[in-house]
């Protein structure tokens, strides 16, 4: 299938990871991880960035996630965000953890308001913004409920909405596709694509091992894995082994892409790559 080429410009750097190394218990986990995420500008429309950070289990994805979130410092190297770039610290980046944590003792509205207040918003403004986000995220009826009263999907959206209340445009998501049924998975993919199109600077970095879903929503994939030494053995410590430009392949920003042969070819290509990491 021939798809029309989508015009876009690569603009300022929004996230820069330079020379990140991490050892745990004397064992290298991450080794010289480098990548950048740039603002991709599409004339005439709001287009955020969705970057997938993939890798087989045990490749240090969670550790890299924590470093990107500013929760743990790397042993060396640094993570800079924004323009002008500043070193990342906890709270500067939206973080949606795998199990969608929320403050269990507060209502959903209370969860959003407290996040807004932490970001320095006055009480009234925080409540107004929280109500707006509840509507945007389809949670208007759930505002007075407690987190335990929400379904899995509602909880996901509430957790993301809460992070939008207090973070800048960069949002990290840890395994957002994990444990979802096919319908919920499709909804989640669409949700990320829709939110990414609300602001040009909105940037999702999705840490996952779900190759198909990542290709479905991302514009760029970065595959984390280990190098092999001359003797064929793996060298400890993961780094970015391959960057897959899904825009160049015509797989990003199109609808119904998951039914195309190119999509399946890309899934198989990344799967094969996984087998050698």
């Amino acid at each position: 299938m021939l798809r029309e080429k989508i015009a876009y410009d690569v603009r300022e750097c929004l996230l820069s990871v330079k020379g990140v190394n991490l050892n745990l218990g004397g064992r290298p986990i991450l080794r010289d991880v480098n990548f950048e995420v740039h603002n991709l500008y599409r004339p005439g429309m709001l287009q955020g960035q969705v970057v997938g950070l993939l890798g087989p289990s045990g490749m240090g994805k969670t550790q890299l996630f924590r470093i990107l979130a500013g929760l743990n410092p790397p042993d060396s190297g640094h993570v800079l965000i924004g323009d002008p770039p500043v070193p990342v610290a906890a709270g500067m980046v939206g973080v949606v953890a795998q199990h969608y944590p929320l403050l269990h003792h507060r209502t959903i509205l209370g969860n959003l308001v407290v996040a807004g207040r932490q970001a320095g918003q006055p009480a009234k403004a925080a409540e107004t913004e929280a109500q707006r986000l509840l509507e945007v995220f389809g949670l208007k009826e759930q505002g007075e409920k407690y987190p335990v009263q929400l379904s899995g999907g509602q909880r996901q959206r509430a957790a993301i909405a809460q992070q939008f209340m207090c973070s800048n445009q960069l949002m990290l998501m840890d395994e957002p596709f994990s444990g979802l049924d096919p319908l919920a998975l499709a909804r989640m993919c669409q949700f990320i694509k829709d939110i990414a199109q609300t602001d040009e600077h909105k940037t999702f970095v999705i840490v996952t091992h779900d190759i198909a879903s990542a290709i479905e929503v991302c514009d760029t994939l970065m595959v984390l894995g280990r190098d092999k030494g001359p003797d064929g053995h793996f060298i400890p410590g993961a780094k970015i082994q391959q960057t897959v430009d899904l825009i160049a392949r015509g797989l990003a920003w199109h609808t119904g892409i998951s039914r195309t042969p190119e999509f399946h070819a890309a899934v198989n290509e990344v799967k094969d790559l996984f087998a050698h990491l």
């Binding site: 929760l71 709270g91 939206g94 953890a97 003792h105 996040a115 932490q118 407690y146 335990v148 992070q163």
Partner: protein
């Protein structure tokens, strides 16, 4: 059997299947049956030392009208309430202080006090606070605090790291993290710990009131009856203590449900 009767019988049979939730009426039938069986066993038991239910209930009437049971109960209630309040404030405060590494060894040491015998502290506390009410109160507070602080410190220590990290991602500074995750996040558990440890107060009360009987109290009354082998009165007082304890449990549970409505929303057995 009518369809309604069959349904009720089927509902009762569920009581012998694991993890089943019974209707309120089925639960009431089971409770009533167990109470009747208990009373029958009690009434027809052949133990000579065991007074019959009628004797016990008659003795409660006598204790109330002739021996000032109501007055003694009020005195014990006030002592226990005071002790629960002080030990709750102390224990919860100490447990929350464990967020500061400096206080962790101190709190752990206080918790270890639960292995010590209270009898060994009577003299020390007498010298420290004098006799009478302050002595009883301090002994009771000590006895409750060593258990309470252990449970509450454990609640704080078991908060997962992910909860702290999550709060940090919301731009919370560390003291705000403490307030949101450690204090507000454990209020429901603090009530549960309070409920369990407040019961210890009633267990200790008899001993403490026995040490200094001048102020009276239900514990002193119980020991006096025991001294003269008045078993009906002893059992009568025990039943009163049990009823008061159950009421205390219900009140703390009701306050917990009111203050922390989220705490029981997903429980299978609410």
């Amino acid at each position: 059997m009518t369809p309604a009767g069959s349904r009720k019988a089927a509902g009762l049979l569920q009581a012998f299947s694991p993890n089943k939730i019974l209707s309120r009426s089925a639960t009431n039938i089971i409770v009533a049956t167990q109470v009747v069986v208990f009373l029958l066993i009690w009434a027809f038991a052949s133990f000579k030392v065991l007074p019959k239910p009628g004797e016990v209930f008659a003795s409660i009437g006598d204790l109330w009208t002739n021996q000032g049971l109501g007055q003694e109960l009020l005195s014990s209630l006030s002592l226990n309430f005071e002790a629960v309040l002080i030990s709750a404030v102390l224990s919860i405060g100490l447990a929350y202080l464990t967020v500061l590494p400096f206080f962790r060894p101190l709190v752990a040491a206080i918790g270890k006090g639960r292995f010590l015998s209270m009898a060994g502290f009577t003299l020390v506390f007498t010298l420290l606070v004098g006799g009478g009410h302050p002595l009883k109160l301090s002994l009771l507070v000590f006895a409750m605090t060593v258990f309470f602080v252990t449970s509450m410190a454990s609640v704080v220590a078991e908060i997962p790291k992910a909860d702290f990290d999550y709060a940090r991602t919301l731009r919370m500074k560390e003291w705000r993290v403490v307030w949101e995750v450690v204090v507000l996040g454990t209020v429901d558990k603090a009530f549960e710990v309070l409920r369990q440890n407040a019961a210890i107060g009633w267990m200790m009360l008899t001993m403490v009131e026995g040490i200094y009987r001048g102020e009276g109290g239900i514990g002193a009354l119980l020991l006096n009856q025991q001294k003269f082998f008045k078993m009906s009165e002893v059992f009568g007082i025990q039943i009163i203590i049990l009823i008061v304890g159950l009421c205390q449990d219900l009140i703390i549970g009701a306050v917990r449900r009111f203050v922390c409505p989220y705490a029981t929303l997903t429980l299978e057995r609410k």
